[in-house]
């Protein structure tokens, strides 16, 4: 248990020290965070709903709809 705790702390320290000592990394992280917010929050939620998941309740309804689309 002690060993596990020690390992977790050392992994945390490894990442913490690594991120802390970044120079250009700060500018990069700013770009990455803005990008991820735009992609996963703005675009995904407001502009890219999953068409079949949001319009139909289950796979049966989805497959019926797709077959109807493919065969009409």
């Amino acid at each position: 248990m002690n060993n596990l705790k020690k390992n977790i702390v050392s992994v945390y320290q490894f990442y913490y020290q690594g991120f802390k000592s970044m120079t250009i990394g700060k500018k990069l992280w700013f770009v990455i965070i803005i990008k991820l917010i735009i992609i996963f929050i703005v675009l995904k939620i407001f502009f890219f709903p999953n068409f079949l998941k949001s319009n139909f309740k289950n796979d049966n309804e989805r497959s019926n709809y797709v077959i109807k689309q493919l065969t009409k």
């Binding site: 990069l28 998941k53 497959s63 065969t71």
Partner: protein
Amino acid sequence: MEHVDFSLVDWSRAQFALTAMYHWLFVPLTLGLSFIVAFMETLYVRTGDAEWKRITKFWMTLFGINFAIGVATGIILEFEFGTNWSNYSWFVGDIFGAPLAIEGIMAFFLESTFIAVMFFGWNKVSKKFHLLSTWLVAIGSNLSALWILVANGWMQNPVGMHFNPDMARNEMMNFWAVLFNPVAINKFLHTVLSAYILASVFVIGVSAWFLIKNREHLFAQKSMKVAAIFGLVASFLTMASGDSSARNMAKYQPMKFAVMENLYDGKNDASLTAFGLLQENTKVTDPQKHDFLFKIEIPYMLSFMAFHDPHAFVPGIHDFVNGNKEHGIISYKERSEKGKIAINALAEYKNAKKTGNENVENVALVKFRENYAHFGYGYYANRDFNELVPSVPITFYSFRIMVGLGFHFIALFFIVLYFQKKKKLETNRIVLYTALWTIPLAYLASELGWVVAEVGRQPWVIQDILPTIAAVSKINSSSVQLTFWLFFVLFTGLLIAEIRIMIAQIKKGPESEILENK
């Protein structure tokens, strides 16, 4: 499918093309530079020469910038599948899902775990463990590409699946057939090898800039040597994989092959047009002559490229549209009739299932299975067959510019090595400026490779089975148009950010140590 909203189809295609092409601006440098960095670090560990450590750290930083800006840009393509291409997403079922899931679990975790060691681990882990991490990042990045390209390869040559008519989904029957699909394997090799060329050109171009500025001579010379050797090896392997790509194309996507060669009427002893100017882009079904304003040909080469036989018959566009009994090619009219039978049989099967009429159900299923190979052509039964022919000029010119640039890169790698050996590279401004200005050309060649692959397979989303007109979601085209421009702004912003951060870092030179502990 009498009425098609072409505005919706075209905007959905344009949006996918835009996001894929922007995404591809980031990917090849990651794939290639990861290996170049791994080679440089190997030289450092083997020789103990501190200059190699300095060189490794500089290129690793540029790799980090490109990786960070490019990461997650591909996820937008998956959003588009769910929103704009929902029929397709449902239809492909787990065939597409499985490789992408493996990519996410295996390759992504491999690269993202060891990338931290690569950047933060200098002086914290042993030299050998650090080197191992760098190699694993390179292998992980390239494995990511493998799974994506397996999915793409399946779309170009659907194998190892079985269509479930109850669920309207393709189900994977043979994972190994999907993984070792000859189109997928070849596509993977050709794509990653060309990415190594791009990264080599990038390293040579940036190093040339240092020499032009009379800075960092040792650093630049050593970097150029590694990149030129790596680029040269990758170039020859790219040529070999390109050769088998041509044979795969002639076998599995012969229309793409004919379009790429502007070959309307099939022939034996077919010559390859090394370069030419197309006369006009008329409708292929018109009985007009489709020829060149001028062309330079290599006799017998096309037959040899396609079938490894200089006298083999290479079918042309007209052979596919009108059929060619002598060579066993059925016409698009016949294929569209068979496809229509498959589509109607699927509808009959579904209705019979609902009403519980087992006899009709069984008969419909047999009819469906017999004609499934032509399923996609059924959507063109009452349409213009010109829609089944990809753009000849775009495919023809893209291929030739890509190949031409490929030879330019080989020449550049040879020239760099030659002048280095003669110790005249630093003073040869023409070579240095050419190297610098070849960087954008490498990106152009890489993008054009995808143009040949993707424009050349139109209108198929899944070869012969599902065309774009049937794959698209029934949504409002104005919403696709809006998100097209949103992506355009977002990706352009990211590209500008990357170029600015990258240029600032290059100008600082290799003394700067970033993204990791000093």
